[in-house]
């Protein structure tokens, strides 16, 4: 397995917040691989989410502007009411396209564009959630050679999202949240 990832992309919905917190808490301040979080959130609440993550994370969590570069040592969170897309030149592009799977941001869009922009050089992780958003995007990433991890459905607070991914393909690893943190921490 090539663990030389240029980006880590994580999707989650209901029940994923605590898992994301535990991952961020576990990472050292100088962790280098950029992390992109696409988590379902209320559309019209702009403030609060990023701030909540920042109280626990040693790495600064930011909501990127359109055309911002994806840089090492950063954690990026999809802002409220926009889709977060990744471009071939490793910048972000935001979109107000219609909700997909009733969600904006939609995990499918972040995963699918990340797959195209990063291919094999990506680690992609699906966490707890109550709908199937993200599964199709994750399949695309899988087909492009990304390394795929799904949170163990028996552990996930709500297992619909992890189950939907597993139904579409066989992920490289199915791990508990603790193991997911360990896996990321082991990366350079």
């Amino acid at each position: 397995m090539d663990t030389n990832f240029n980006v880590i992309v994580i999707g989650g919905s209901a029940g994923s917040f605590q898992v994301v917190i535990s991952i961020l808490e576990s990472l050292p301040a100088n962790f280098q691989v950029p992390i992109v979080l696409c988590l379902h959130r209320p559309r019209h609440v702009r403030e609060g989410f990023k701030e909540a993550l920042n109280t626990k994370s040693k790495i600064m969590v930011v909501e990127p502007d359109d055309k911002e570069s994806i840089k090492r040592g950063n954690v990026y969170l999809a802002p409220a009411n926009f889709h977060l897309l990744l471009e071939l030149n490793h910048t972000f592009a935001l979109s107000t396209e219609e909700a997909v799977n009733f969600s904006r941001p939609a995990i499918d869009l972040t995963f699918e564009t990340a797959a195209y922009a990063y291919g094999k050089k990506m680690l992609i992780i699906m966490l707890s959630g109550a709908n199937s958003d993200g599964a199709k995007g994750m399949l695309k990433a899988y087909q492009k050679g990304a390394y795929t991890i799904v949170q163990d459905p028996t552990e996930a607070q709500i297992n619909v999202m992890p189950e939907s991914a597993i139904k579409l393909f066989k992920p490289h690893a199915v791990l508990s949240s603790k193991k997911i943190s360990e896996f990321i921490n082991a990366l350079k």
């Binding site: 990127p64 502007d65 359109d66 802002p79 219609e98 564009t113």
Partner: protein
Amino acid sequence: MLLELDLRAIKAIMALVKAKHRYDFENYAMSSIKRRIERIIDLKKIETLDKLLHSLEFDLEFFDYFVREITVNTTEMFRDPAMWVVLNNEVIPNIKIINNLRIWHAGCSTGEEVFSMAILLQEAGLLEKSILYATDLNTNVLASAKKGELTIRNQELNTANYERFKGKGKLADYYTVQDGKMIMNKDLMTNITFKKHDLVLDKSFLKFDLIFCRNVLIYFNMQLQDDVIGKFNDSLFKGGWLILGTKETMAFTKSAKKFNAVSTSERIYQKTAI
């Protein structure tokens, strides 16, 4: 998905569109243009790139549909209420002395944004002396905006946004509901001119005191953003104001030094140089 497009295919499509029709999407943001075209391919069950190119060249009805699909037209009244509050409190007091206020909504879509502005101006007692231009490249959205008809689907959202903005009245004072549509009151419409204008191909056409261009630049790549912000700079009087979407920034453009950020969170800028 029937067909995954690579970069070459997308470039071929855009080159054909540019050569055969008067539209230039070559510098649109790749990730979303790719997705939008693939969506068309799926919905219309197009099997090969050649078939797509052929239809784009010869089937005008299909081409019209193509333009409608690849431009994202989603909009809301009083989108981002916090921006409208800052506009009302910090920009309006500075411009209310101007006679014949000239305002441009670039990329107005179905009109929600310009109607919101007309309401704000009405409540500030400024609508009568204002001239609003609302432009878009998509003629379909312009046609419905001209009629002052808005989709009822967003009625609740529009109302909630107006309430967060804390307007003086009720949003319902400004429209009636007919045939499942929100119809804006005629007096709001008198000073609005709708016209087709392409930010990529068309020149700036007037000087303005205030320009809105919200959630349009996100669909452009950095180079095109730079050009278009340059056009806005040319279209503003010194001291004029420019409002972008909440996730758009001019920080990456050459014109940045000519503007002062009045509200960083709401992306409201003022032109300081000539």
